[in-house]
């Protein structure tokens, strides 16, 4: 009989990184389906292309870095990065947008910094910011949610738009994005709720005037509020499965809520309220799927609270006073930068090193 030699512990939680990532992907499903429902087929094209590009880029990077691509691909982290980026960009953005974004995220942000575990920035958000700065037009061209669009493109039209920026019949994305306001003259290009509010407020309108717009049918904008709910659902699943800890979502949403409430108290007519902040834009997605990225977040529990609070406050500040309607990506990247400092100052006190207060 020969013996199997191993080092203790001999027991492991059967929870590999690969499985954790699978769970993350699974938890994204509700949000993904909501996006599919409200914003059309585009998100599927984005996702497929992003994953393909990400896997190819990951393999090439691993080969270039002398690692076995098979073992590196197994951890599923590239797929998660691709998925996070794919659902963040407008569904009918041209194909090369997602290709550039994914390549940047995998090659530059992840592998040039040393591969999985070594990247300072959240790859998906870094990719998103690159795209937003480089292609502001394409990156803000969100479709109006289903029900508001005058002629929502079907599967084929969407594919055409994705690949060639024109539908089969030759309509441009601009034309497709118009919403039916009753009269042809009034047909305007649809903006996202946050964008709309921001534009209106900057033009001197009050919040209540801005919210008169017909897209604010629910409490935070048609479509968007349900997408946020769906991601909240997925996030709760992650919490329940202990894939993530509560610290980051709670601190981030808490900080954002407190800021929003204070804002509404002091400038009720000039600053969007709690409902808009929490359920519009990418708030829930960020709280459960972006900020919780373990690699680029702070390590200790205390550190995570600080890190996520910072994100929450930054989101509020940039949304309210910055030049961009949404702020998740910027806020996360800025907080990523602070992680080394946060980690340094939140080191737990080792057992026995505590100064006894006697």
């Amino acid at each position: 009989m020969s013996f199997y030699i191993a080092s203790s512990p001999h027991h492991h939680q059967r929870r590999t990184t690969a499985k954790l990532m699978q769970l993350v992907l699974f938890a994204m499903l509700p949000g993904f389906l909501a996006q599919l429902y409200f914003f059309g087929w585009g998100v599927i094209f984005q996702l497929s292309l992003a994953i393909a590009v990400a896997l190819a880029a990951e393999s090439l990077c691993l080969i270039a870095r002398d690692r076995a691509p098979a073992s590196g691909l197994q951890d599923n982290t590239a797929i998660v990065t691709a998925a996070l980026l794919a659902v963040s960009i407008p569904p009918l953005a041209p194909w090369w947008v997602i290709v550039i974004g994914t390549l940047f995220a995998i090659v530059v942000v992840k592998h040039l910094f040393g591969g999985v575990g070594h990247n300072i920035f959240n790859p998906a958000m870094a990719g998103y910011v690159l795209l937003l700065i480089s292609f502001p037009v394409q990156m803000t061209a969100w479709m109006p949610p289903t029900g508001l669009a005058s002629n929502a493109p079907g599967f084929i039209d969407s594919l055409y738009l994705f690949l060639f920026q024109f539908t089969n019949e030759g309509f441009s994305l601009e034309q497709v994005r118009r919403i039916d306001t009753g009269s042809m003259l009034d047909a305007v290009v649809m903006a996202t709720p946050l964008d709309h509010v921001k534009t209106q407020l900057s033009q001197g309108a009050t919040l209540s005037e801005a919210l008169q717009h017909r897209q604010f049918t629910g409490f935070a904008g048609a479509g968007w509020q349900w997408v946020n709910f769906a991601y909240l659902l997925g996030g709760l699943l992650l919490l329940q499965q202990r894939v993530i800890q509560w610290h980051i979502p709670v601190a981030m949403l808490g900080a954002l809520s407190i800021c929003a409430i204070l804002g509404s108290i002091f400038a009720p007519d000039l600053l969007p309220g709690l409902n808009i902040h929490l359920f519009s834009g990418a708030t829930m997605f960020a709280a459960f799927f972006i900020a919780t990225d373990p690699v680029s977040a702070a390590t200790s529990s205390k550190g995570k609270l600080i890190y996520a609070t910072l994100i929450g406050v930054l989101i509020y500040v940039i949304r309210s006073y910055g030049g961009y309607p949404d702020a998740v990506a910027f806020a996360v990247l800025l907080a990523n930068l602070c992680v080394p400092v946060i980690d340094q100052y939140t080191r737990p006190v080792t057992y026995g090193h505590r100064k006894e207060e006697s």
Partner: protein, 622 residues
């Protein structure tokens, strides 16, 4: 602030910890068995910390159960005993029960099946003798901690002063292991008795027995034992369980760790590089308390212990009383062990902290609590290590509040200073971090390696330091010897000079001398004569000048003698003067010679002594 624990006092918590599947059943469902005597016992001379004792038996000797086989050495180690009666068939190198897999000198004992006892000496009343004598008895009985590293109990007790709380640890938090659980269920009374004895020995104000809440039967047995002990009205020993507090702690690995249990019960932490005794706490395992009771009340040395034999490769998992020295193969065979896989894993200890063995002939020792033979299915081998994703799961799990993830980076980078800064030394190797790590990083293995490397480095440094000291000591010695040599020469030269000066001074002095007594003159004459004879006998080594002076003196002395003989009347002043001068010269000569000889002898002796002294010093250093 003194610690006060009552049945209702609050329980604290420790950070981190994990909840691995407990898998205590089915091993905990059957009573502790007693297998037939094994065909051979392997008793290593060294079972515990410290140097092995001196053998006091030889091959072929017949020994009785409980007979000491070694005499502890100078460092107050523990003797080892014959676990049963039989013949010593060999004393040879044999694999040790140690992660290193090394061999060590081992007694092979072939039982004769009689299990005949060596005379036992119980202590009827521990109040009748001093604490020191009781501790000596415990040491002679080979009592050591059965829960941890096997530290001699007597030494642990002797070293502890001002103990507030004696904690009897029955937590047994590691999965699979049920030895203490069964022992508590079946022998709670004796464990309590042993605990009370220990309380008496340590003068602890309080006695606390801690059990994890997944062992309700053991807790009930203890509660009953405490009740019984209070009910029986024996005033002979005054050992009552009234003060014993039973504390049930929540199940969480590693709550049974000494430091963690102290934190749970008292909220305090053992200071770094300190001992529990520093905060008034002493902890003993339930098995140790049991052994103490057997040793004092029955005079039985520690010869056997409860071992859990479990895992899916074992058909009748359970617990057994195993004689120390029993090869684990025998215990496995008795439990229906069948290797299930090509590569069977046999773990000494539990799944979290145990080590895999490579030889089934290794013996049961005092710290052997479990033999685990799992199937690949129940404890799957570690998968390939993946990159750390900085998820922080390890940090959340770490009971010592370390940063396992950071330690891992540092260990891989061999940054020993960084590791020290991150308190690697405080890692208790509990394995909680590696258990939760999703990237399957064998974190503990990295830490162990790094610790070993740091230890080696420290030893190297120490060696270098000793070499440096030795070199410096040698330099200093050479320097000193040189100085001493110089000093000796100088002294000799000075002495010579002084002598010459004295001679010269005396010459001038004597020339101014006043009148002399005829008796004195006569004496001087005799002396001069003697001096003259001496002079003749001794080889003339003096300088020419001296010889000349001596000749002159001799002539003068002769003349003076003649004069003195010729005239009985007091000599004239000149004559007297001449005689006196001669006498003085002769005296000075002799004195000088003597002094020089003495000086020489002294100097040689002295420097020899010094030489020896420095040599000794050199030896001490080396």
């Amino acid at each position: 602030m003194a610690i006060d624990i009552s049945a209702t006092s609050k329980l604290w918590s420790f950070p981190g910890g994990i909840h691995p599947p407990e898998r205590k059943a089915p091993a905990n469902m059957t009573a502790i068995q007693r297998f037939p005597l094994p065909p051979v016992l392997f008793i290593p001379l060294r079972q515990h910390a410290g140097e092995p004792g001196e053998l006091c038996v030889a091959v072929g000797d017949y020994v009785l159960k409980g007979q000491p086989l070694t005499i502890p050495g100078v460092d107050n180690g523990l003797p080892v005993h014959a676990s049963t009666s039989g013949t010593i068939t060999a004393i040879q190198q044999h694999p040790l029960n140690h992660p290193s897999g090394l061999t060590g000198l081992t007694l092979c004992l072939e039982p004769d099946g009689k299990d005949a006892w060596y005379p036992r000496q119980p202590i009827a009343n521990i109040d009748a003798i001093s604490q020191r004598e009781v501790l000596q008895h415990l040491q002679a009985m080979g009592i050591a901690g059965l829960g941890g590293a096997g530290f001699p109990t007597a030494r642990k007790v002797a070293g502890a002063r001002n103990i507030d709380v004696l904690i009897i640890n029955g937590v047994e938090c590691e999965p699979y292991i049920v030895s203490d659980d069964r022992l508590m269920r079946e022998h709670a009374g004796e464990i309590l008795a042993g605990s009370l004895l220990l309380q008496k020995l340590t003068s602890a104000k309080q006695l606390v027995i801690a059990i994890e809440d997944n062992k309700p039967e053991a807790a009930a047995a203890f509660a009953a034992a405490i009740h019984d002990s209070n009910a029986t009205d024996t005033d002979t020993t005054e050992l009552k369980g009234a003060a014993a507090v039973l504390k049930i702690v929540p199940t969480r690995y590693p709550s049974g760790g000494e430091k963690q249990l102290i934190q749970i019960l008292t909220g305090k932490q053992v200071p770094v590089r300190g001992l529990p005794a520093d905060i008034g706490i002493l902890m003993q395992n339930v098995g140790t308390a049991f052994a103490v009771a057997r040793a004092i009340h029955h005079g039985e040395p520690l010869l056997e212990r409860v071992v859990t034999i479990t895992g899916e490769a074992v058909h009748q998992p359970g617990t057994a009383w195993a004689l120390l020295g029993t090869p684990i193969e025998y215990l496995l065979a008795q439990s229906g062990f069948r290797a299930q896989e090509k590569k069977q894993r046999v773990i000494m200890g539990g799944p979290m902290m145990g080590f895999t063995v490579t030889n089934l002939q290794i013996p049961v020792i005092k710290t052997t609590n479990c033999i685990l033979a799992p199937s690949q299915k129940e404890l799957a081998p570690a998968e390939a290590e993946m990159a750390c994703i900085r998820c922080g799961a390890c940090e959340i799990a770490c009971p010592a509040s370390l940063l396992p993830q950071q330690l891992q980076w540092l260990a891989k980078a061999k940054d020993y200073d960084g590791l020290k800064q991150h308190n690697l030394a405080d890692c208790i190797e509990c394995g909680a971090c590696a258990y939760v790590c999703p990237s399957q990083i064998p974190l503990v293995q990295y830490y162990r390696q790094a610790k070993a490397e740091i230890r080696e480095q420290a030893i190297e440094q120490q060696k270098a330091e000793i070499a440096r000291q030795r070199f410096e000591a040698r330099q200093a010695r050479l320097e000193r010897e040189k100085e001493e040599r110089l000093a000796k020469h100088k002294k000799a030269a000075e002495a010579r000079k002084a002598a010459q000066a004295a001679q010269a001074a005396r010459q001038t002095e004597s020339s101014t001398d006043g009148e002399q007594d005829p008796v004195k003159a006569a004496l001087a004459r005799v002396k001069a004569k003697k001096a003259q004879q001496d002079r003749g006998v001794e080889p003339a080594k003096s300088e020419q000048k001296d010889a000349v002076a001596a000749a002159v003196a001799r002539a003068k002395a002769k003349k003076a003698e003649r004069d003195a003989n010729a005239e009985s009347t007091p000599a004239t002043t000149e004559k007297k003067d001449a005689v006196a001068a001669a006498v003085a010269r002769a005296k000075a000569k002799k004195a000088e010679r003597e002094r020089l000889a003495k000086l020489e002898a002294e100097n040689i002796g002295d420097s020899e002594n010094k030489q020896n002294a420095t040599n000794n010093k050199g030896n001490e250093n080396s």
